[in-house]
């Protein structure tokens, strides 16, 4: 491959005669020196193989120009909307664009958008070497410079901690019960998130190796020295139970506490009022629940949330429900009761209810019938011939 490259370059040299003086060319006698002239080649040779070229790359000047246009456009937009260009935030931009270009498209990502070029154009690696061709990074020739440089740094920190340990041991101050890093409530960054940070692709084994090294770092007694570094690779998990909106506890003129909540299941919609210091009566749509739900299973569904938190005889339940069938109505009422109960119950109990599945809305709906089939899944009789 190198030899053919050399031959090709030598043929270019032939056309620029005098410059080739300093360089040793062996075919001087065989091919006569040609005068400078245009090389005409068939146009099919100039067509680029678009499939072979990788993902579209943007030059730095293009991105800078986009950035400039974005800043100017932001100010124009602020003037158009009659607001102060200096304090025009991204939310204001989104609001203005939605106002000026109302779109009926369902796909949010297909609607007109005006965002900072960094969010629109993917992050790319710039040219990796200087004017003389020397790469900037010392691990450039490995191919995955950021990833291997990260491994190098982690190992460097492990060695530093070992040296610190030895120093403490020499002084006689070594203690194995040093401050440990708190890791509960956080998880390691995923492979995709690390790829995003490093701006290069890594394989699954590479990711596992990195996690192994971080675990090794964590297993050392003095790892708290590098706490900040390690926490950069941990992501805090959101506390799931704080996501639920607890309905406000209201008080009626007699001073009795009550809360109101809604629930849905299939096409059934239910609304519940839970009154405190009651005796366990349940009224639905004006009728007693024994009359409204003759089936035992539906009545059990209503009772389950109260049974779970152990407040069976405490509340009076008044509910209204419409739509769908008896089972779906029972499910909707159960969800509404659980949500209403949140305002009477402690934080730990909320988490327990969430884990029991009382607070999750059942997403199952009726699957549509497809053409060419009897129903949603049932096919017509299959005939062999």
């Amino acid at each position: 491959m190198a030899a053919s490259g050399c031959r090709g370059v030598r043929s270019i040299l032939w056309k620029y005669g005098s410059c080739a003086k300093n360089l040793y060319v062996s075919r001087s006698k065989m091919v006569p020196q040609l005068p400078l002239r245009q090389i005409s080649v068939a146009s099919s040779l100039w067509k680029k193989n678009l499939a072979a070229a990788g993902p579209q790359k943007f030059t730095q000047e293009f991105i800078d120009k986009q950035l400039e246009e974005f800043e100017v456009g932001k100010r124009h937009l602020a003037n158009m909307m009659g607001e102060d260009p200096e304090t025009f935030t991204q939310e204001d931009i989104d609001r203005s664009i939605a106002y000026l270009f109302p779109s009926g498209l369902f796909e949010k990502r297909a609607r007109p958008v005006m965002k900072h070029p960094e969010e629109i154009f993917p992050k790319q690696t710039a040219i990796q070497w200087d004017a003389e061709g020397r790469p900037f990074h010392f691990l450039f020739y490995t191919g995955k410079q950021s990833y291997y440089s990260l491994l190098h740094d982690v190992y460097e920190k492990i060695l530093a901690i070992e040296r610190h340990q030895d120093k403490m041991r020499n002084k006689g101050l070594f203690a194995s019960d040093t401050k440990q890093i708190l890791l509960t409530g956080s998880r390691w960054l995923l492979k995709e998130e690390i790829e995003e940070n490093l701006v290069e692709n890594i394989s699954d084994q590479d990711y596992l190796r990195l996690i192994q090294l971080m675990e090794k770092l964590l297993s050392m007694p003095y790892c708290s020295l590098e706490e900040e570094f390690i926490l950069k690779f941990r992501k805090q998990l959101e506390v799931q139970s704080s996501k639920y909106q607890i309905p406000a506890l209201q008080y009626d003129p007699q001073g009795v506490a009550f809360s109101v909540a809604d629930g849905r299941r299939k096409t059934a919609k239910a609304s519940i009022t839970l009154r405190d210091s009651g005796s366990g009566n349940i009224t639905i749509n004006g009728r007693n629940y024994l009359h409204y739900f003759p089936v035992l299973q539906n009545r059990e569904q209503l009772m389950f949330p109260l049974l779970f938190v152990g407040m069976m005889g405490r509340f009076d339940i008044e509910g209204s429900v419409e739509g769908s069938g008896h089972s779906a109505q029972a499910g909707a009422l159960r969800l509404a009761i659980s949500r209403a109960l949140l305002s009477f119950v402690s934080e730990g109990e909320v988490e327990k209810m969430r884990q029991a599945g009382l607070l999750t809305a059942d997403p199952r709906i009726r699957e549509r019938k497809k053409p060419g089939q009897e129903g949603a899944r049932k096919k017509f009789t299959w005939k062999k011939r």
Binding site: V9, W129, T142, G143, Y155
Partner: protein, 269 residues
């Protein structure tokens, strides 16, 4: 223009081997010369002469960088460089470099090692002096961190990880078009983790890149341009090699900077 000449002249003085990217850069630099004004051409002529002198004068001296003072045979002995592997692991082609064997352990001839190491260090120094890219390669996990740190300290490059197939032979695709390949590859251990010869030796030979390699008694020294028989398993020995190469490269680069400064002073005078 100077950079074009430098890139063109890195190895053409040391070896008469031509490589594609060098020729192209030389062609473009010639182009620049033909299209620039006559006055500029005249001013650049003495410049070129001085640069030529800076580049060619060291090649006339046998030990321009005084590398013989960096190590003695006693240092090599104390760093346990003479210890090879057992008789059963011996490679046929390493027999000329062995002094003998004692209790089945091969002993490497330190006189030959000292001479070959001197030649290898001299070559490295000349490459570094002319601004060449040096790549340290080793697949021994024990010393990977040490080698990467050494390369960082002397401003060169290292590869102590898994060697992907076409890194040298398929460079425009593996990296980007227009990448410059290393001008010298130094192998601190020529075997990979399954005791086969490192792929980089064969690839460097294919791409006409000169190699320096520390060959132990179980390695094949054939494709390496400057083999240095020595122990590659002991930490003391590896630290010594790293120190020696780092000192040579730093010395060569300092000398080059000195010469450039002198040139600058003499040109302004």
């Amino acid at each position: 223009m100077c950079s074009g000449n430098m890139a063109a002249g890195v190895l053409s003085g040391v070896r008469q081997v031509l490589r594609g990217p060098r020729l192209l850069s030389a062609v473009f630099s010639c182009h620049g010369q033909t299209f620039s004004s006559a006055a500029a051409a005249v001013k650049s002529a003495p410049d070129t002469a001085v640069t030529e002198k800076i580049l060619n004068f060291p090649l006339t001296q046998p030990d321009y960088f005084h590398l013989s003072e960096l190590f003695t045979m006693k240092d090599l002995f104390e760093a346990r460089v003479h210890l090879g592997h057992k008789k059963g692991c011996r490679h046929r082609l390493m027999e000329p470099y062995l002094f003998g064997s004692r209790l089945d352990t091969d002993i490497i001839d330190l006189e030959q090692t000292a001479e070959l190491l001197q030649q290898a260090l001299n070559f490295t120094a000349h490459v570094a002096y002319r601004g060449g890219i040096i790549l340290f390669v080793s697949r021994r996990r024990q010393f990977g961190h040490l080698i990467e740190t050494t390369s960082r300290e002397c401003g060169e490059y290292a590869h102590t990880r898994y060697w992907k197939g076409g890194l040298l032979t398929n460079a425009p695709i593996q990296y980007s078009p227009g990448v410059r390949l290393p001008d010298l590859i130094i192998f601190f251990s020529t075997l990979n983790n399954v005791f086969q010869q490192h792929v980089g030796i064969r690839d460097a030979a294919k791409m006409n890149i000169p190699t320096v390699g520390i060959v132990d008694s179980n390695c094949n020294p054939s494709l390496i341009a400057y083999p240095v028989p020595g122990n590659d398993d002991t930490p003391v020995a590896m630290e010594m090699y790293c120190r020696l190469f780092k000192m040579t490269i730093n010395r060569a680069k300092d000398k080059r900077r000195q010469m450039e400064l002198l040139k600058g002073i003499s040109a302004s005078v």
